[in-house]
């Protein structure tokens, strides 16, 4: 009974992968997930490469934005699609290959067991992730900012690995289309009173994921985007 595998209903757990120009990695990511997780939904966010075709050939259900709207918008599209398709649990997962699929069972388990509404992956709860120094600094600054603004004492804010219940996904409404959605989601967890827990996860830093990751100037953009979204929502 304590075996996590018995608690997680994989057939009704949908993996949502927002993807923008991820053709080099998305096929391998989907194939890595599919044997164990039958519902993999790739939201192609208006990619100009063959992301959608590659994901579909690998076996994912593909939802395709006609034009690029940002990762937050793609995630909300994925949530809407999965809820309409009858998802009981939803997982957000990155398409750049930095998340190992072995982490999912442990991530979904507290949500499936009813111990919390949302499980947030954290790369800082153990030493398995080799986070580059500059990124570690930016992420730590983001953690402090989030703790001050949302009041959530999280250890990682911009980690794409999360698991949530259907009820939580129905209540969340991501309006920040671009990267500020990660902070917005934490804000909504706080304001909606959703229960949450952090789960240690490993993040792999590959050349591709480093190239696609956020840099210093991007962090500033995210901050400006976040503030504007709070002002105008």
């Amino acid at each position: 009974m304590n075996d996590p595998a018995t608690l997680v209903p994989r057939a009704s757990t949908f993996i949502v992968i927002p993807a923008y120009n991820e053709a080099p990695t998305i096929g391998a990511v989907v194939r890595d997930l599919l044997p164990g997780w039958p519902r993999v939904v790739v939201v192609d966010d208006g990619s100009t490469d063959r992301t959608a075709d590659t994901a579909a050939r690998a076996g994912a259900e593909v939802v395709r934005h006609a034009v690029n709207r940002g990762q937050g918008a793609a995630l909300q599209t994925g949530f809407d699609y999965c809820l309409a398709a009858g998802a009981r649990f939803l997982v957000t997962f990155d398409g750049d290959g930095q998340h190992p699929s072995e982490e999912l069972e442990r991530l979904v388990e507290p949500v499936a067991a009813g111990r919390c509404d949302i499980a947030l992956g954290s790369r800082f709860l153990d030493a398995r992730s080799d986070v580059p120094a500059l990124r570690r600094l930016l992420l730590k600054a983001a953690v402090i900012f989030t703790r001050v603004v949302s009041g959530l004492r999280v250890t990682d804010t911009h980690n794409g690995l999360r698991a949530l219940t259907r009820d939580a996904a129905e209540r969340l409404e991501l309006r920040a289309d671009r990267m500020a959605h990660a902070s917005e989601l934490l804000d909504q967890i706080s304001s909606l009173g959703l229960s949450w827990a952090e789960v240690p996860v490993r993040v792999r830093y590959t050349r591709h994921s480093r190239a696609k990751g956020q840099r210093g100037l991007d962090a500033l953009r995210v901050l400006v985007d976040y503030v504007l979204n709070r002002v105008f929502r």
Partner: protein
């Protein structure tokens, strides 16, 4: 009255008339229409009687009427930028909604047509 005053008053008068017609034809809402009409009338008065701007400026602690006009123009420009930005954000949100609905509808259509189910995979070894 000099040539500039004649030209300026004629132009602001035309804009005021267009604004009133816009409200009458329901192309402009009454409140913004009234605000625009007042703005054109104020501009016409400032052009016709520039000494009035000096009186208003000095009552606000500004020495020259031209400075008052300049400050108001800058202020108006920023208000304009802000309103355009708000409008753009609304359009952006609307665009996201449209893109989302279209994306989901297309995906569901593909699935109903049998092209998007996991069973339709070409195989795990498909080349990327």
């Amino acid at each position: 009255m000099n040539a500039f005053q004649i030209l300026g008053i004629s132009l602001t008068g035309c804009f005021a008339l267009l604004t009133v017609l816009g409200v009458a034809r329901r192309r402009l809402r009454p409140v913004p229409g009234l605000a625009w009409a007042l703005l054109w009338v104020a501009a016409a008065v400032a052009i016709a009687r520039p000494e009035l701007t000096v009186i208003v400026a000095q009552s606000l602690g500004i020495v020259r009427g031209a400075d008052l006009i300049f400050y108001l123009a800058i202020l108006g420009m920023f208000v304009g930028f802000f309103l355009v930005y708000v409008r753009l954000r609304r359009l952006d949100e609307g665009l996201t909604q449209v893109v989302r609905r279209l994306a989901i509808a297309e995906a569901r259509h593909r699935i109903e047509a049998g092209g998007g189910e996991p069973a339709a995979r070409e195989g795990e070894s498909a080349a990327d």
